[in-house]
Every structure is written in structure tokens, then in C-alpha cells.
Subunit: 196 residues, 2 copies
């Protein structure tokens, strides 16, 4: 059965298609469907925002739709920026400005208090209102300065002690451990068990 | 019909009873009921945590139960500390330590970027699983230093430009504008319309 991959971001589409390849799903991305305005992400959690998107496209196209929402939770900031990850330094700010703000907020804070997690929630909704949900996490620490030139977003400041690198320094390895990989791998398994 | 007021905090019980007095409800606090271990607040939003508590006591006592969850959201911190408000500087920290941490994080940040909101979500759940929900907000700014000697929690650093005071400097006025007042006043009206 055809599944709408409900993200408008071409980089994310490629990444998710790659993760889901082993499961032989019939995915169609938004770029290959008639254009429609995207819904407002008014949820208070990753889960609510992923559901808003999946729900919207499932009803609009009358096909099962798969969406995700993700972000960075920093323990020292009481869970922020969380769902505000992409607009943490204002709606027009760059990745670099967001990372700079984060490092400034954590300036002088000892390593033991710099714990953080990348979180991704993936949700599939059918036009009949059925729902499947998976979550992926990647636990790490906020670095004291940016490092690594791959990845995007908060990758240059998200440090993994077991690799002694930020996720921006991991190269292709990142795609086998990332929060998005974990959420969509679990989703792929769930979907293939359900006969998709 | 008797309603369980599902909070173990005596100060909060008094405050809520005071707000709900005009509605002539039949409230019974946990202190007047057989003791029971409180449920874990594992929710990801104020709403989920309030629901966990109301649900738990409604089922345990087989009476409608009214609970709330509240906290401070700081825009500059991407919505933190939010549901982590009471353990923002570690589980054993004092109000003073939490406020100090917040002021340090926002040191040098201009007033226009210090917007914050106190939020309270109140939920009543019946043993039959019906639910009523209200929310109260108080919008303000994080002060640059503590002021005022009344209130508690983040009150000394929560500044209201229209009063030129923090909520710790407002005295009894605070109880007529607070997030908790707004949530429970709306709940009182809802409950009296529903015949409680």
C-alpha cells in the first residue's frame, strides 16, 4: 500500500528513504503529489507535532501518511529547546547562531551537567484514523565548542563521548545511530510486520 | 457531589479552596482521605501530568478528582524549564538556587528577549473517565535580579511591567491574576455550569 512520506525537506526524505529501504515499502514523497499548504505545528510535544502532520496528509490524500518531529533536549535548560529547536534563536536565525546561543548559555557549565538528547518521534496515521508510533533517542553532551563539518543543525555541538566526536564529525556512521535512524528503523519493522 | 482536590501541598490546597469558594463545591483534600502513594508524573506536558494525577485519584477513590500541574516557560530557553520547573537546578535545590541559575542563564540578555509565562493546567477526571480541562497563563519577563519577599518559587524573578513589580512583590493581588487563579476560576465556572 502506498504511504505518503509527509516531509517537505528533501534531505530528510533521502535520509528516511535510505533507512526504510530494507523494508520494501511503497513510499511517495510530497514532491510527487499535488501541492498543498502544510499544517501549523501547534503541538506541545514532538509526538503532537508529528501526529498533526501525519493526520493532515492522511486525510488530505486519503492514504496512510508517515511524519516525524524531532529536536534537541538539553537537561541544563529544563528540556529546552525541545519543540522550539528550529527557532531557538529567532525564526530567521542560522544553525550557527543557534549553536552559538546554546554554547553561550552553557558557558562554564561542567561536563556532568551538559547532558542532552536528540529525539525523533515518527507517526503513521491512516485515513481511517489508525496510528503507529515509534521514538528514537540519541544521548550525548553539549560540547564546549563546535567541531566536525558534516551533519547539520545542532550536530557540531552534540558530543558523543563513546566516539570522542560530535555528530558532525561522525560522517556516515551518524546515520546508523541517529535518533531519526532509530525511530524510522523501528517504524520500518512495525510496518513490515503489519503487512505494508 | 464530593470532589477530591488532588494535591498534597497544603499551601496549594488553601489557595485553590480560596479561589473555588464562590462556586460552593464540595471539596475534600487528600489530607482528609486514607493515605495513598502519589503517582509518578511521567508526562511530557503540564496537561499530561495533571491528567495522570486526576486520573489516578479519581480511580483510586471512585470520586471526581481535580488536579493541576504548573510551571514557568522561558522563551529564551526554548520553553524550559517547563515541566522541569521544580527540579531545574537538581532535585534537592532550593527556590533561591533555581532563581540564581535562571538569572545566570539570562545574564546580559536584553529585556525584549526575557519573555516568560507562568502556566497552570487544571483537570478534573471522573471515575467514568469524563474529563474537564482549563488553563491559566500569566505573561511576564524574567527580571535581572530577584525582588519582592512574598510568593514562592520563581516569583522573585518573574516581573510584570504593568505593575512594575515581580509576582513576589504583588502581595495578595497576585492571587487575583495568577496562572493558578485563572485556571481554577475557569474550572469553578465550568463545574458550577455542570451542576457540581
Amino acid at each position: 500500500m502506498e504511504i505518503v512520506l509527509a516531509t517537505g525537506n528533501p534531505g530528510k526524505v533521502r535520509e528516511i528513504e535510505e533507512i526504510l529501504k530494507p523494508y520494501g515499502l511503497d513510499l511517495v514523497s510530497l514532491a510527487h503529489l499535488p501541492q498543498v499548504d502544510s499544517p501549523s505545528e501547534t503541538g506541545k510535544t514532538f509526538e503532537e507535532n508529528a501526529r498533526i502532520k501525519a493526520d493532515f496528509y492522511a486525510h488530505h490524500f486519503q492514504k496512510p501518511a508517515l511524519a516525524d518531529d524531532s529536536g534537541l533536549e538539553v537537561e541544563y535548560l529544563g528540556g529546552g529547546p525541545g519543540i522550539y529547536s528550529s527557532r531557538f534563536a529567532g525564526p530567521e536565525a542560522t544553525d550557527e547562531e543557534r549553536n552559538k546561543k546554546l554554547l553561550t548559555l552553557l558557558k562554564g557549565v561542567p561536563f556532568s551537567q551538559r547532558r542532552a538528547a536528540f529525539i525523533c518521534v515518527a507517526i503513521l496515521v491512516t485515513p481511517e484514523g489508525e496510528e503507529l508510533k515509534t521514538e528514537g533517542r540519541l544521548e550525548g553532551y553539549i560540547a564546549t565548542r563546535p567541531a566536525g563539518d558534516q551533519g547539520f543543525g545542532y550536530d557540531p555541538v552534540f558530543f558523543l563521548p563513546e566516539y570522542d566526536k560530535t555528530t558532525a564529525g561522525l560522517g556516515k556512521q551518524k546515520n546508523k545511530i541517529s535518533h531519526r535512524y532509530r525511530a524510522f528503523k523501528a517504524m520500518g519493522e512495525l510496518l513490515s510486520r503489519q503487512g505494508y
